[in-house]
């Protein structure tokens, strides 16, 4: 669910705690026919996703899949020397764990909670079983996979051609599309890991956006003040990814 620009300027600063947690808050689950949803619902466990939590590590067997509702998770690629960069972002539009039905028991990237919130988790085997039914969930998951691949490919070309602050803009915009408010709770270290820069690079990039009046950046919270301005500043990669997601996953507005 995304707020309109007018709503965003009036939104509360703190991320809302889920008043009545509901798996429908994840768009993928919400898009399922009622009967499929009812079948899965008993197996969906409401789960807190805290800042910095590592949900998946490369090479480690996945036991659960996750459907975020109010959290944002980054898929990070970790290099041999420990440096990392984000490959893709996953929020309430998606699922963490698609590797499972692609025949991989583990993921090639690390999944880290980038903005704290909640989600639902389900045992990995159950998802595999559900996928094997060749029903609506399978089709949704495959289309979601294509959207994710497009995002990854766009991240690659963005990393090649665009600046760090453009990439920060892109990331903020994609995150906002996946949240109900205009504020993200993060740490400088997490942003640094996500952008693949050192902390000074984060201060610099965020500083530029703050100087331009686009965000307020203070004590681990980034509040977006001017979304249209952020779009102008961002590279075209944001629009490409958003367009692809909207096309492949035409969710109804919550």
């Amino acid at each position: 669910m995304r707020l309109t620009d007018e709503q965003a300027s009036r939104a509360p600063e703190a991320p809302p705690a889920p008043a009545a947690p509901d798996p429908h808050q994840n768009h993928l689950l919400d898009a399922l026919p009622a009967s499929d949803f009812e079948r899965l619902a008993p197996h969906l466990e409401h789960f807190a996703l805290d800042l910095g939590d590592v949900l998946y590590e490369p090479g480690v067997q996945m036991r659960y899949v996750y459907f975020p509702t109010t959290a944002i998770v980054s898929l990070l690629y970790v290099m041999e020397d420990g440096a990392s960069a984000e490959i893709a972002i996953v929020g309430n539009e998606g699922i963490l764990g698609i590797s499972l039905f692609m025949g991989g028991e583990s993921t090639p990237s690390r999944a880290v909670v980038q903005s704290a919130g909640y989600g639902y988790r389900m045992r990995a085997q159950l998802l595999k079983d559900e996928f094997g039914r060749f029903g609506p969930l399978m089709h949704l998951l495959l289309r979601y996979t294509q959207a994710l691949i497009t995002q990854m490919a766009q991240t690659a070309v963005c990393n090649r051609h665009h600046t760090v602050d453009q990439q920060l803009c892109r990331w903020l915009l994609l995150s906002l599309d996946r949240l109900a408010c205009n504020e993200l709770t993060m740490t400088q270290e997490l942003i640094a890991n996500m952008l693949g820069v050192r902390r000074e690079g984060v201060t610099e990039a965020a500083g530029k956006l703050q100087d331009a009046g686009l965000v307020k950046y203070r004590r681990g919270k980034i509040t977006v003040l001017d979304r249209p301005g952020l779009i102008k500043r961002s590279c075209e990669c944001y629009a490409v990814v958003k367009k692809e997601f909207d096309r492949l996953l035409p969710y109804k507005a919550l």
Partner: protein, 260 residues
């Protein structure tokens, strides 16, 4: 156009070891086994599949898919090489994946998406087996072995694209050029290629001057020879040393995906 060298491609053609099976295998089935995905389909299924497969010769620089356009055919390379490219505009592009005889071009179709997100063009001329999208869809839906093989391949391709994303955040032009040359050479089975600097610039997301600099570095270290559009690898071991680790990592991912 890459010339055929003496070295074997990374993914070798699987020989038919079962003599009895060899007698009933049709010509197109034998050819089909030259693609790793098709070779993993059991004989009963592959006979049906072979009827829909059409051998084609793909030319260098031929475009197979444009972003946003419908996928009319899927392609199983035999000895050609396909590049997958994204772009931010006409000038600034990047190759995000390579598809050789270990895979299939047209992957969105497996995911139920009839339109390509990337540009697919033929980097290494050669043969492929193509199948029209409607019969492919029908076959895919009824063929569990094909599904398994293609989902596994999708995983490997996603890992390759992820690797490229990270690579472009951290690695230098000469490292990336070295990696690209190794990957290409593995897949076409040759050490010699005809390559313009402009082509390399599109693949690596560099300006021409960046390509010149990177290539000069590799020439200076006597790892390649590159004159008048003809590039030859002189020292593979040396090239591996200059390449970023992404080369070996992608090899590992593909090797694992094929081992089942």
């Amino acid at each position: 156009m890459p010339t055929m060298g003496s070295r074997q491609p990374l993914v070798p053609v699987l020989p038919s070891t079962d003599a009895r099976r060899a007698r009933v295998v049709s010509v197109s089935q034998r050819t089909a086994m030259a693609n790793r995905i098709l070779a993993s389909i059991p004989p009963e299924d592959s006979q049906r599949l072979s009827r829909e497969l059409e051998p084609v010769a793909l030319r260098f620089d031929q475009t197979l898919y444009e972003p946003g356009k419908a996928i009319k055919y899927v392609y199983f390379p035999i000895d050609c090489l396909v590049s997958l490219l994204t772009a931010v505009d006409r000038r600034r592009t990047l190759e995000v994946g390579m598809v050789g005889n270990e895979g299939m071009a047209g992957m969105p179709f497996i995911l139920g998406v009839g339109v390509s997100g990337v540009r697919a063009l033929v980097q290494g001329a050669g043969r492929a087996l193509r199948m029209a999208s409607v019969p492919f869809r029908i076959e895919f839906d009824r063929n569990p072995a094909l599904q398994q093989a293609l989902y596994r391949y999708t995983y490997a391709l996603m890992a390759q694209i992820s690797q490229t994303a990270a690579c472009n955040r951290f690695h230098e032009a000469d490292q990336r050029l070295a990696r690209w040359l190794l990957m290409t050479s593995d897949r076409v089975g040759a050490d010699d290629f005809a390559l313009t600097q402009e082509f390399l610039a599109h693949m690596l997301g560099l300006r021409r001057v960046g390509v010149t600099e990177a290539a000069s570095e590799l020439k200076r270290r006597k790892l390649i020879d590159y004159t008048r559009g003809q590039l030859r690898i002189l020292d593979r071991r040396g090239l591996k040393k200059v390449s970023c680790a992404c080369y070996e990592i992608v090899n590992l991912v593909f090797a694992r995906a094929q081992r089942h």
